[in-house]
């Protein structure tokens, strides 16, 4: 049977859980489901599991993805109902389907809920020119222009800030964490909630 692709949420208190912890929780959920899941080989066998993109701690996701494998043929309905019966708080199974292609992500849509005194127009126009940000990596610090990897989808004012939707690069080496978008605006903008709404292939 081909890989099974699961669309799921990582919401609420799960934002306090790291990617590795989430991965372990999904392992256990797969075991609990009682499905004939495929295991890795080796000294320490664990369920074969491939999560599309990690979410940092404090980030949430509305349509996250993972692939896993079963060793016998099982109807998709059956898989879905078994998984739904095994979920943990903050994780919901949104969709279960047969995987088409690899989990090769290109972009992600993020909802950034912010507290800021930056006027909406100023905020919007910032996305139209270079957006230099100090990026830290193993090689040291360097200033990078994130504007080519960033696209503002929408922005609206709230009582004390702005809710923005941005489309950011999410391909392997080119992954842009939305915290850099917030960092570009510096002290004047505080990110209060970061939600990945969708992953695009």
């Amino acid at each position: 049977m081909p890989d099974i692709r699961v669309t799921f949420t990582k919401l609420d208190k799960l934002k306090y859980i790291s990617h590795l912890d989430l991965q372990r929780a999904i392992h256990r959920m797969l075991v609990r489901s009682g499905l004939p899941i495929a295991y890795s080989e080796g000294f320490n066998p664990h369920p074969r599991l491939n999560i599309a993109l990690p979410l940092s701690i404090y980030q949430e996701g509305e349509r996250e993805l993972f692939d896993f494998r079963v060793v016998n043929e099982v109807a998709l309905d059956e898989i879905e109902s078994r998984l739904k019966a095994s979920v943990f708080p903050g994780m919901d199974v949104v969709k279960v389907e047969l995987a088409v292609g690899k989990l090769a992500t290109k972009h992600a849509i993020w909802r950034l809920e912010t507290v800021t005194d930056i006027p909406l127009d100023e905020f919007k126009s910032a996305f139209e020119s270079a957006m230099p940000v100090l990026k830290r990596s193993k090689a040291g610090e360097k200033t990078v222009d994130i504007q080519p990897m960033t696209e503002l989808v929408s922005a609206e004012s709230t009582e004390n800030g702005i809710i923005a939707r941005v489309k950011l690069n999410a391909a392997g080496n080119d992954y842009l964490n939305p915290s850099y978008v917030a960092a570009f605006f510096g002290e004047r903008l505080k990110l209060v909630r970061t939600v990945r709404e969708n992953i695009i292939f």
């Binding site: 208190k13 859980i17 372990r24 929780a25 392992h27 256990r28 609990r32 943990f88």
Partner: protein, 621 residues
């Protein structure tokens, strides 16, 4: 349920916010708003350690099954979270509702380790609860404590309203029922505590007066109100097959210390090592049946999704039906890729082929505990294993393809000489030689024997309870002596900080006078003493000095055999007469056989109407 979002600004500033949010799979509890009694179970150490504790899972499960209790959890916050709570002026809260500890009807602590006492006081303080029992009023929660350290409750008695002595499954539910009654009828705090003292297995410190001799020892320890029992007998569960076992536990997101299903196979120990408190306080020996264990294990794995089961009891290879249990479990655990681990094997009855079977999924480390380096000293402590048995067990392990072993020893044991210390190095060398006595095809790196040496701490309710601990200088001299004796790189040598062991000894054999020191330590922000990075020996010494307490009085003094010990009012079943007999035999290096070979008349069988492992065996009581 309350809005957790108010804690968000704090949680974003700490290293591991997952410790403080609860909401794990399977952590649902009865609705606090509909419960007659709200209890918060506190573990006075970090989340990762607390979530690994089977006792809390059992007891909070018992409470939540009553139908009228809602029992939540709380763990000791790491200093980063503590600082955030203080900075935001927010109280320490329970993980399910987010309510402050002070809002509960009862707050219960489990006392697993003496160096956690400062955490108990810190959690009370952070939870907005008055620290001292005598200062609390009718509107404050009742503070309960139990667990292994509660067998000498005196050092922390000033802070606790009620101690539960012994196994708590039945006792705690009886107490909850009483507290519910008292709450419903508006019974005063004083009267509630008195009524608790009338239940079996509960100790209410405020109902007892202590007087001291001029030399600091106890002159008298007596109840100060009528009908309060002069001795408190510990509670036990007679039939382990019938008692509640938590098959459906919460599954943590964070990696905890014991991140697996824990299956309790039996309680008690048939061995009687003379330094070992667990071996005495958990008597009499009682087993669970393989049928019930196998069912428990299946349910626990299906519920949790864990891929490991650990058989946890004091000396697992003493279980009479171990083969039957393992043969019953392996077919399904292997099929489900579940690993079975047996963490506490004894050298004299360890079966490599059994170990081969259980490690068919994953191969885990092997640890033995000879405890002492020479036969003479092993006889003194009644370890009842011979050098030959140790070497044979190691050889079997090497033959089975293992090339790394861990050995536990103690230094500072009563009657110990430098020859005993040198014997540890010699034994380690013999084991290394055993490995090279045959041609082996290992990983190429050869053998690795880890020798881990802790410091002897005299504990209440052991035949060594009267013994003095070696001074720090002497313990450290012995540690260095052993270091010099180890001539091979195949042995990795590790030893414990003697200063930690000394503070542990002070509180282990402490009395009520130590309450002052705990309060002073709290005022100086001391906590997390079980953690190297926060333990400070110098701070403790200055606390003791300022409180007029001599730590040597508790740690380094040989207690008189006829002295009233701070814990004498507690009856664990095993008699003081037996302890004295064992103490005297130790002085002559005479061993006592295990309970199965011959009953030694320890007295514990009285707790279950004479039924014991020695059943009908010959007694020399």
């Amino acid at each position: 349920m309350i809005d957790y979002e108010k804690y968000a600004p704090l949680l974003e500033q700490v290293e591991k916010p997952g410790r403080y949010v609860g909401s794990e799979y399977g952590s649902e509890i009865p609705d606090p708003e509909k419960a007659d009694l709200r209890v918060c179970f506190c573990f006075p150490d970090t989340y990762e350690i607390g979530m690994s504790n089977l006792g809390i899972k059992i007891l909070s499960g018992c409470l939540n099954n009553t139908g009228y209790v809602s029992c939540e959890r709380c763990y000791m916050p790491w200093p980063d979270m503590r600082d955030q709570l203080i900075k935001h002026n927010m109280p320490l809260y329970a993980l399910e509702s987010g309510d402050a500890l002070s809002e509960f009807d009862a707050v219960a602590f489990t006392l697993q380790y003496e160096l956690c006492y400062t955490n108990v006081v810190a959690m009370l303080g952070l939870g907005n609860i008055k620290l001292l029992s005598k200062d609390r009023s009718d509107s404050d929660p009742i503070i309960i404590a139990g667990g292994p350290c509660a067998y000498n409750p005196e050092p922390i008695a000033d802070f606790i309203d009620i101690f539960s002595i012994g196994e708590g499954e039945d006792a705690l539910v009886e107490l909850a029922s009483l507290l519910r009654e008292c709450k419903k009828n508006g019974v005063s705090r004083e009267e509630t505590l008195y009524r608790a003292s009338q239940l079996k297995g509960f100790y209410v410190p405020s109902l007892y007066d202590v007087e001291y001799n001029d030399d600091g020892t106890i002159r008298s320890f007596v109840p100060n109100r009528e009908n309060v029992p002069a001795t408190v007998q510990k509670r036990i569960i007679e039939n382990l097959d019938e008692v509640y076992f938590p098959c459906k536990c919460s599954v943590p997101f964070l990696e905890t210390v014991h991140d697996r299903v824990m299956l309790e196979v039996f309680r008690g120990c048939i061995r009687g090592c003379r330094f070992c408190q667990a071996g005495m306080i958990y008597r009499p020996y009682r087993e669970k049946s393989p049928e019930v264990l196998n069912e428990n294990a299946k349910t626990a794995i299906a519920h949790s999704g864990y891929s490991e089961i650990s058989l946890t009891s004091l000396s697992i290879s003493d279980y009479t039906r171990l083969r039957e249990l393992i043969d019953g479990m392996l077919p399904w655990t292997n099929a489900k890729n579940v690993n079975l681990s047996l963490p506490s094997m004894r050298i004299d009855n360890f079966y490599e082929e059994l170990l081969e079977k259980v490690s068919s999924v994953r191969k885990s480390g092997l640890t033995f505990a000879p405890e002492a380096g020479t036969q003479r000293l092993r006889d003194v402590i009644n370890k009842n294993i011979t050098e030959e048995e140790i070497l044979t067990a190691c050889e079997k392990a090497f033959d089975g393809g293992r090339s790394s072993l861990k050995l536990y020893f103690m230094n500072g044991l009563p009657t110990e000489t430098d020859d005993d210390i040198k014997g540890i190095a010699a034994l380690g060398q013999s084991i290394v030689d055993k490995y090279y006595s045959k041609k082996r095809f290992g990983g190429g790196r050869g053998v690795n024997v880890t020798v881990s040496v802790s410091c002897f701490v005299p504990k209440p309710f052991t035949p060594f309870q009267w013994e003095a601990q070696d001074s720090i200088e002497e313990l450290e001299r012995k540690q260095q002596l052993l270091k010099g004796e180890i001539k091979t790189k195949k042995i990795s040598y590790k030893y414990h900080d003697a200063r930690v062991s000394r503070i542990e000894a002070v509180f282990a054999r402490g009395d009520r006078k130590l309450g002052r020191a705990l309060l002073e330590a709290y005022n100086r922000n001391m906590m997390l003493d079980g953690w190297d990075e926060y333990f400070s020996y110098d701070k403790w010494i200055s606390v003791f000095e300022d409180c007029g307490i001599d730590p040597a009085f508790y740690a380094n003094r040989e207690f008189g055999l006829d002295e009233i010990l701070p814990w004498d009012f507690i009856d664990i079943g095993v008699t003081k007469k037996f302890m004295k007999r064992e103490y005297e035999k130790s002085r002559q290096a005479v061993t006592t056989p295990d309970c199965r070979t011959k009953c030694s008349g320890c007295g514990a069988s009285a707790l279950c109407n004479g039924k014991c492992v020695c059943d009908g065996g010959e007694s020399n009581a």
